[in-house]
């Protein structure tokens, strides 16, 4: 049975511990076949199973955006995403943004504008910004702020984050 066509009705008694479930997830272009318990979040798969610790766990309840990654090109919070549901998905994390050692324009812009202090929210901010630019719904600073409101920065680097996004947007000219 191919893991991506896991059928309905996993037959087992609920008194015993549920079986681990086969899941195929492609992260930053590399395919992984895993067997995971159904309660494992995508965030925990990335950090604990695949050792991709760039994605951060802040609140673990969808309230801060530190765990933002792209799933099939869309930004989501990985802490509220059960990995079994994303069987077959393509995930991009902050580790997958640079190409051949050259930083993604958004990463470079965050450095140019000093758009962080402690850096804990930064991987989430950067993934979120990459998606924001691809979505193409924000042009003004007000719109950037509103559509980035799902990423909290406890250090308050917001002003520089907006400036970084504006630079990246201009340099990318709307291209993802």
């Amino acid at each position: 049975m191919s893991p991506s066509s896991f059928p309905g009705g996993l037959e087992r008694k609920s008194t015993s511990r549920p079986a681990e479930i086969p899941v195929r997830i492609t992260v930053n272009g590399q395919e992984h076949r895993l067997a995971i318990a159904p309660w494992t979040t995508l965030l925990d798969v990335l950090r604990d199973h695949l050792d991709l610790t760039g994605t951060k766990k802040g609140c673990d309840h969808g309230q801060c955006g530190a765990c933002t990654v792209l799933v099939d090109g869309r930004r989501i919070v990985s802490c509220l995403t059960l990995a079994v549901i994303k069987d077959g998905a393509e995930v991009t994390t902050v580790e997958g943004l640079a190409t051949n050692g050259v930083l993604h324009p958004v990463q470079q812009a965050f450095i140019d504008h000093d758009a962080f202090q402690c850096g804990y929210c930064t991987p989430g901010q950067i993934c979120s910004s990459v998606a924001l630019i691809a979505e193409g719904k924000a042009t003004t600073a007000d719109e950037i702020r509103e559509l980035m409101s799902g990423n909290i920065c406890r250090c308050g680097a917001y002003t520089n984050i907006v400036a970084a996004i504006q630079q990246a947007m201009a340099s990318m000219d709307g291209k993802p």
Binding site: F6, P7, G8, G9, L10, R12, S14, R17, P18, I21, A37, P38, W39, T41, D60, H61, G62, G65, T68, R74, R75, I76, V77, L80, T81, L82, V84, I85, S128, A131, L132, E135, K137, A138, T140, D142, E143, R145, E146, L147, S149, G150, N151, I152
Partner: protein
């Protein structure tokens, strides 16, 4: 989180069969509310039925000129859908006033209707809460109740429904299409959510063995005169203290039809047909709006920390109706309230 089984529904009948067979099972769509509640052990299903592969993520035009929105349509795709933006901008605006872009990308239309209250005590399993544990008592009535309801409350529960989308859907007279073992039925939006009464553990009139398959919008979307105004403790990414969805049709300087629905104030989107009737035929002016607000809030009752919501709601209603009448809807990215 407690251990649970996981199963994927292969089609709608299979989803219904699985949910009907196991009272401890839950459907999972975007997971943004359910996974959160499971982490806090507020909701403890022993089995999750994954409905994300069902073909319910389309928008279709109906024969009567309305739209049928599949229950799995993500909130973000719904908000930005060209037909919604053009014909039902109130729906777009309400969605974009809620949560964050990440969450809107995950959250489904059906799940948004079914999200549970954000009452602090509901989330805190160390405290009594009639909604979480029937008969245990309501901690909010004499506790911290700043975010709780002022309308339609009961001795058992003063929780609010937290959705923004639902306020717009209630204003527009949407209908909810549900399917169960006995087939499909249609529920009027304002009949979908319940008042708490003495059974606050039951949020909606969806039966435990039913699933939401679609939301239908009637032909009239009020694209010219509408506004969604959300007042909250921070400017974005926070639940409403008070929100107002207003939609209007103006003909020769008079209000021909009007809809007003309130969020953040009750266990369900709050509408009062008497307030709307009082505005029909009137000139769209402040005096009439104040009168309508009075009717909507007639039975409002404040608790220790939330009595401010009554005055806040009155002003928000007046303001939102003014924005709708002037054709200057609240912009969700621009925080200035005109």
């Amino acid at each position: 989180m407690i251990d649970f089984d996981y199963a994927r529904a292969s089609d709608i009948p299979d989803a219904i069969r699985q949910i009907a067979a196991d009272p401890n099972a839950k459907l999972i769509a975007g997971g943004t509310n359910l996974v959160d509640l499971m982490k806090y052990e507020v909701v403890n299903p022993t089995r999750l039925i994954d409905i994300t592969h069902l073909p319910l993520n389309t928008i279709e035009e109906t024969a009567s000129g309305g739209l049928r929105i599949g229950a799995l349509m993500p909130n973000s795709d719904l908000a930005y859908h060209p037909l919604i933006e053009k014909r039902y901008p109130l729906v777009s605006s309400a969605i974009l006033a809620g949560a964050s872009q990440q969450l809107r990308n995950m959250a489904s239309t059906g799940g948004n209707l079914m999200q549970r209250t954000r009452c602090f005590y509901f989330y805190d399993i160390a405290t009594p809460c009639n909604k979480r544990v029937p008969g245990s008592g309501c901690s909010a009535i004499n506790g911290i109740n700043r975010i709780n309801a002022i309308l339609g409350t009961s001795e058992s529960c003063i929780a609010t429904h937290p959705s923004d989308l639902c306020i717009a859907l209630a204003a527009l007279d949407a209908t909810v299409h549900v399917a169960g073992p006995a087939g499909e039925r249609v529920i009027a939006f304002t009949d979908f959510h319940r008042l708490p009464g003495d059974t606050p553990q039951i949020d909606t009139n969806l039966a435990p063995d039913e699933i939401i398959v679609a939301i239908e919008l009637p032909p009239r979307g009020f694209p010219e005169n509408y506004s969604y105004l959300k007042i909250r403790d921070r400017l974005s990414y926070a639940f409403a203290l008070v929100s107002v969805a207003a939609a209007m049709e103006i003909e020769r300087g008079r209000i021909r039809d009007v809809r007003i629905a309130l969020g953040g104030v009750a266990h369900k989107p709050w509408r009062k047909v008497e307030a709307e009737a009082a505005l029909r035929g009137e000139a769209p002016e402040r005096k009439a709006f104040t009168r309508a607000a009075g009717i909507l809030l007639q039975d409002a009752k404040g608790y220790t920390h939330n009595a401010f919501k009554i005055e806040l709601a009155r002003r928000a209603i007046e303001r939102t109706l003014t924005q709708a009448a002037n054709g200057t809807p609240q912009m969700q990215a621009i925080k200035k309230i005109r």
